[in-house]
Symmetry: C2
Subunit: 337 residues, 2 copies
C-alpha cells in the first residue's frame, strides 16, 4: 500500500518505472546547448502543418508514438494517456491524440503539466488501474506568444524578465515493468498567489509555488536538499531561480550547490537572446525526457527531485488586472529500485 | 484490488462513497424545472463580482466549500481537489480555489470534466492515496458565450441546434466512508471525431463520443442498458440525445425507456427558449449534484450510468476550419454497496 507522508506527499508502494522517454523540439531549441540530446529537432517550426496549433498537435502525436515505440510496445497496450498543454481548451493535445484510440484524461496545470501527468500516472499504476500509461506535455513558441502576449508579426520588444516558450513535446511511458529510473514519491502542489501581476515575469510568479512545494516535500519526508543529486524546477528561468534560492535560504534550506532549472539549461544565455530563459509546458517535458532521463538511465544521476512549475493565469485574467496564481508538482525519480 | 474489464472499464475494489454533493446555479437555471433541487440559486449572475469570470470563480469556491460543510468535514481534511472548467487556462477553477490551500490537480475535459474528476478521484481513493477528494466542474453562460461565440451585447441570433451554457458549479466529496451512493465502475472515454464542424451544434459533435463510451461500457461489463434505472448523458440536448438513441439502436442497444440528458432536464423546452437544451461543464455537474444525487441517496434511483460529455474544440480550431473532437466519461453510481 502506498503511504501518505505529511499532508502533500505520497510514497508509492512499489516504485513506478519510466520505461521510455521521447522528445521533439523546434529549431531554436535545436541551436541550444541540449540540441544533441533530443530525439527529433524540427527544421520547420510548422512541422509541415498549416498553423502553429496544428504543428504542436502533430509534434504531440509523433512524440507520444515515439515514446511507445521506444518501449517496444504497441499503442493498443496503453491504458491511458494523461496530458495537456497551454493552448485554450488544450487543442494541441486533443487534436494530437484524437486518432490514437487510447482512453484519455485531459490535464491542465499550465507548465506544471508534465509533473501532474507523471504524478497521476504513477498513482494509477501503483493503484492497479493500468499497466502502461503515456504522460506528456507540449508547448509551441509561436502559438503561445500569439495567444498569451502579442502577434509575432508586431515584433513587440520583450522585457528582460520575459521567458521564451519552448517549442516541443516530451512523453514518457510509465509501467511497473522495467529497470528504472523509478518514480518513488510525489508531492502535490497547492496554488500559491503572491500577488505578482506581470505576465512578462512568470519566474517571479512561479518561484513562491516552487518553494511552497519544495518545503512541503522536505517537511513531509524529513529529507534535506542534499539528499538529491539534483533538484530541477520546470521553467522559472534566471529570475525565478534566483528567487527560489533566496526564499529557500530564508526558510533554512541551502540550494546553492545542487539546484537548476530546465529553463536555464535548454537555451544558451549569451547567444540565444531568450532573456530570462525557457518556459512553457514543453520546457520541463523535453528537458527531462531528452536530457535528464538518459542521465538517470546511465546512473550518471541517481536521485532527482523534478518540479515542473505552472503559472495559472490567462490573458483574460491579466486584462482584468488579476494576479498570477501558480503551482508546482514535485516528483522524486531515482535510478535504483 | 480493482479489476480492469475489457479495454476501458475499471471495477473498483471497494465502492467509493459520494459523501455529499453541492450545487449553485444562476438565475435562468433558477427559473427552470429543477430550481428547487439546487442548494443555491443566484439572483445576480455576477454573484457580486466585477466580471463573469470572477463570478464563476466565486461560485466554484463557494460550492466546493459547501460540499465540504455538508460532509461535516473541514477544508484541511481534503487530500486533493480535482476540477476544471471551460474558460481558457481554467481560470474560474484556479482563481476559485486558490485560497482554499488544498493540493490540486487541474483537469480539462470540456463538459466531461465532472465525469473525469469523479473517475480519477475514485481511483485515487480506491488506490489508497486519499481519504477525501473534492471533485467538481463549473461553467458560466456569459463567460462562455463571450469566449466561444459572440459578445453578448451583439444580440446574435442563435440557431435551433445551439445549446445554452449552464451557469453553475457542482461539487462532490468522495471517500471510502459513508452510506452511499457509491461509485462502482468507471469507463474512460476515447476521443471520437466524426467530422462535425459546427460549433453551434455541439450535440451532434458529442453524440458519437457518448455512444462510443456507452458501447465500450456494455461490451466491457456484459451489461445491457436495462441494467440501469437511468442512463444520463451530460449536455447533448435534444439534438444529441436523439442521435444517441438512433446510433445505439443501430448498434443493437435500446435506450428508448431509461435514457435522458442533463441538458434536457435542466431547462423547460417550451418556456425557456434555450433551443437544443443546456450545456457546459456546469450542466451535468449541477444536475447530478442537485437532482440525481438526492434521488440516489433516497433510493428513488438505485443504479445509474452517468456520462458527462465534452466537445474538445476551441474558437481557434473552429476558425482554422477544424472539426470538433469529443469525449465522454462514464461513471456507474449505485445506491447500495
Amino acid at each position: 500500500m502506498s503511504k501518505k507522508l505529511g499532508s502533500q506527499t505520497i510514497t508509492l508502494a512499489k516504485p513506478v518505472n519510466i520505461l521510455s522517454a521521447a522528445s521533439t523540439v523546434g529549431p531554436k531549441e535545436g541551436e541550444g546547448p541540449l540540441a544533441k540530446y533530443f530525439d527529433v529537432v524540427l527544421t520547420d517550426i510548422l512541422a509541415g502543418e498549416n498553423s502553429w496549433e496544428l504543428a504542436e498537435a502533430k509534434i504531440a502525436k509523433d512524440t507520444f508514438t515515439m515514446a511507445v515505440s521506444k518501449s517496444n510496445l504497441d499503442l493498443t497496450t496503453i491504458d491511458y494517456i494523461l496530458s495537456g498543454d497551454l493552448l485554450n481548451q488544450s487543442i494541441s493535445t486533443t487534436f494530437g491524440i484524437k486518432d490514437l484510440n487510447i482512453p484519455f484524461y485531459g490535464l491542465f496545470g499550465a507548465c506544471s503539466t508534465m509533473g501532474e501527468g507523471m504524478s497521476l500516472g504513477s498513482m494509477l499504476i501503483d493503484g492497479g488501474f493500468a499497466n502502461y500509461i503515456l504522460a506528456g506535455a507540449s508547448s509551441h513558441f509561436c502559438a503561445a506568444e500569439k495567444q498569451f502576449r502579442f502577434p509575432l508579426e508586431l515584433g513587440t520588444q520583450r522585457p528582460p524578465t520575459s521567458s521564451w516558450t519552448v517549442t516541443g513535446q516530451g512523453s514518457v511511458v510509465l509501467s511497473l515493468d522495467g529497470e528504472g529510473p523509478y518514480i518513488k514519491q510525489i508531492t502535490t502542489g497547492k496554488i500559491v498567489d503572491m500577488g505578482i501581476k506581470d505576465p512578462n515575469n512568470m519566474g517571479a510568479a512561479m518561484a513562491p509555488a516552487a518553494v511552497d512545494t519544495m518545503i512541503a516535500h522536505f517537511k513531509d519526508t524529513g529529507k534535506n536538499p542534499d539528499y538529491y543529486d539534483l533538484i530541477i524546477t520546470g521553467d522559472l528561468g534566471y529570475v525565478g531561480k534566483e528567487l527560489v534560492v533566496r526564499l529557500m535560504k530564508e526558510n533554512g534550506y541551502n540550494l546553492e550547490t545542487n539546484y537548476t532549472d530546465c529553463g536555464i539549461e535548454i537555451f544558451d544565455k549569451n547567444t540565444q537572446d531568450t532573456h530570462a530563459g525557457g518556459s512553457g509546458c514543453g520546457c520541463s517535458a523535453t528537458t527531462f525526457c531528452g536530457y535528464y532521463y538518459p542521465k538517470l538511465k546511465s546512473k550518471e544521476l541517481n536521485k532527482i527531485l523534478f518540479i515542473p512549475t505552472g503559472a495559472l493565469m490567462s490573458p483574460t485574467s491579466t486584462k482584468q488586472k488579476q494576479s498570477i496564481p501558480a503551482i508546482a508538482q514535485a516528483v522524486v525519480i531515482e535510478s535504483f529500485f
